[in-house]
């Protein structure tokens, strides 16, 4: 750098020289840039890209477990064949997709409602935001234990509340459909605030003139929401939804603790199935195939979503 500074007067004298100097200068800066970013890129490549490739290789091999390790013997599609013929895998796939769509939809509606309420608050919005961040920052294992205690079949607080109002003793985690719904409620409690916080932040950034104009025109608050607020908020909502969908596709902690995937396999997500096949049945090949299918789901989900989202944005720009 000192060299460049010393040569500055000379550089000014000749235009061609300037160009050469600038080129070497920017090359130098580019080298520094690579030096600065190499550690991060190496870390990411080694721990994410390399294992994902390895996972793909496992899923396409005959893996045999030996005494203290494993060995790969030849290329095969049998792991995927096994997967496609397994009703457990098909159920896990359907369950993961259905569960994701249902919970994210509820979270979106509830989260937007909460955001609209908070946006009207003139006082105390800061503490309310902090309160919303509390479930978001909670360890999922803890919230799963908490909800398990709330749903408990013999002494749970919900049992007591339901029987107090004369609704008998309902089953929460003991049979398949109620278990799915109960898990959704626990999930919605924990992640709706995340959606709400993002939407509040989006609402605050909207231009106030548009709303003033709508008020002058005498638009009802219902019309204002659907005609103005919602379209303007769409990019914000889209990102919140995308984050949530991708997270929910990897659903693991909640069913692992709350239901163990049961009763039966009724709450077994793809990630939980993959974990069980791999670490409880010690079946690496099929387990890797399940993991690859979960990854594909995430990729397809995000591509689809981005396409729909882009199409919508494009349409608006045309109008």
């Amino acid at each position: 750098m000192a060299v460049v500074a010393n040569e500055l007067p000379k550089v000014r004298r000749s235009p061609t020289n300037t160009k050469i100097k600038r080129d070497t200068h920017s090359k130098r800066l580019a080298r520094i840039g690579w030096a600065f970013s190499t550690p991060a890129l190496l870390f990411v490549a080694l721990v994410t890209i390399f294992p994902i490739g390895f996972s793909l290789a496992l899923s396409l091999s005959n893996v045999s477990v030996t005494g203290n390790g494993f060995s790969l013997q030849g290329f095969t599609f049998s792991n995927y064949y096994e997967l496609l013929n397994s009703s457990t895998w098909r159920y896990a796939m359907e369950f993961t997709v259905f569960y994701t769509i249902a919970t994210v939809l509820v979270e979106l509606i509830l989260g937007t409602a909460i955001a609209l309420i908070l946006e009207r608050l003139t006082k105390g919005r800061g503490p309310m935001m902090a309160l919303l961040l509390l479930p978001w920052s909670m360890i999922t294992v803890i919230s799963a234990e908490l909800w398990q205690y709330i749903y408990e079949g013999t002494y749970g607080v919900l049992q007591s509340m339901f029987s107090a109002v004369g609704l008998g003793s309902p089953v929460f985690l003991g049979s398949p459909t109620p278990a799915v719904v109960s898990m959704m409620v626990a999930d919605i409690w924990k992640t709706t605030p995340f959606v709400a916080v993002i939407v509040v932040a989006g609402l605050v950034m909207l231009p106030s003139e548009v709303f003033e104009a709508a008020a002058v025109d005498g638009a009802s608050s219902w019309t204002t929401f659907w005609r103005i607020t919602f379209p303007l908020l769409r990019p914000t909502i889209a990102i919140a939804v995308l984050f949530r969908i991708l997270q929910a596709f990897g659903l693991f902690d909640l069913p692992f603790v709350l239901t163990g995937g049961g009763p039966g396999t009724s709450t077994t997500s793809l990630a939980l199935l993959s974990y069980k096949v791999m670490f409880q049945n010690i079946d690496y090949g099929p387990g890797a195939a399940v993991a690859v299918s979960a990854t594909l789901l995430v990729i397809v989900g995000s591509l689809l979503f981005l396409r729909v989202f882009k199409a919508q944005v494009g349409k608006e720009e045309l109008q």
Binding site: L29, A40, T48, G69, M129, A130, L133, T140
Partner: protein, 281 residues
């Protein structure tokens, strides 16, 4: 006087405040249940009908969390792994974030998109290969078994957040410093970093929270009792037949405090991070 207090009290009953109250109850009631259950006696934790307020108030669960279940060790493990991973992410990630924001490198755009794609990959995709690899090199049940993957998994998002802040710093400041003859590292350290402090806080809070709450990798890679982190420890408390809820909730209250405080104090940064990730990313 009594008339005046009554009107001011009535003034608070309106649809907006009732809605706010409903939101508060929705969030707070389960947390209330967690906290008060941790103060019930071990017997009263399972009483029916349940106690809506602990009577008598007991600290027995807190005692047993530490004495019988080794919660102190889990707390130290979590803190070690989380602090070291967060530190590493901030050091390595801020350098990369600065380079990707400011330095004239070729192929920046594809790199950034790749990072974004990687940041949404599900953990389950890498956990089994990581397990097998770490088994081979003897890393299972060590601190680095979690620190290395936590660092890698949190780098992409942290780089994106910090890059957005670096982009907002006026370019002139760097150029002046360069003309004054400062080296790139020096410019970065004494000119850029102080300016980007909010971005670094934001990334730090996110990475800390993510590491503190992570479960799947901690469960598979550090499962021996000496290296369990809080989520794994709590999930495996007790036996399949007996779930010691009181102890679990006592441990949970202690586990929620560090991140809860961090998020409360830095809530502005968290909100700005959520929207920076959301709006610009």
């Amino acid at each position: 006087m009594s008339y005046r207090t009554r009107t001011s009290w009535h003034k608070w009953i309106n649809p907006l405040n009732l809605a706010v109250l409903a939101v508060v109850l929705f969030i707070v009631l389960p947390i209330y249940w967690l906290v008060i259950s941790s103060f019930k006696t071990p017997v009263n934790v399972g009483s029916f009908p349940p106690q809506y307020f602990p009577n008598p108030v007991s600290f027995a669960n807190y005692g047993s969390a530490f004495s019988h279940y080794g919660f102190g060790k889990y707390f130290v493990n979590s803190l070690t792994v989380t602090v070291l991973s967060t530190g590493l992410v901030l050091v390595i990630g801020s350098l990369a974030g600065y380079a990707l924001a400011r330095l004239p490198m070729r192929g920046k755009a594809p790199l950034l998109v790749t990072l974004l794609v990687i940041s949404v990959f599900p953990e389950i995709a890498v956990v089994s290969p990581l397990y097998l690899l770490m088994n081979q090199i003897g890393w299972l049940n060590t601190y680095q078994a979690l620190i290395v993957p936590y660092t890698a998994f949190n780098l992409p998002f942290a780089i994106w957040i910090m890059r957005n802040y670096f982009l907002g710093i006026p370019k002139e400041m760097e150029e002046t410093s360069r003309i004054d003859g400062a080296s790139a590292i020096r410019t970065y350290w004494s000119i850029i970093l102080p300016q980007a402090r909010p971005g670094i806080f934001t990334a730090g809070v996110f990475v800390f929270t993510a590491c503190w709450t992570e479960f799947l990798m901690a469960l598979t890679l550090d499962n021996s009792n000496g290296f369990r982190t809080i989520p794994v420890g709590i999930a495996l408390f007790g036996s399949p037949n007996v779930v010691p809820y009181g102890t679990i909730f006592a441990a949970s209250v202690i586990a929620v405090i560090p991140v809860g405080t961090l998020v409360f104090v830095f809530r502005k940064f968290v909100v700005s991070g959520l929207t920076a990730g959301a709006v610009k990313g």
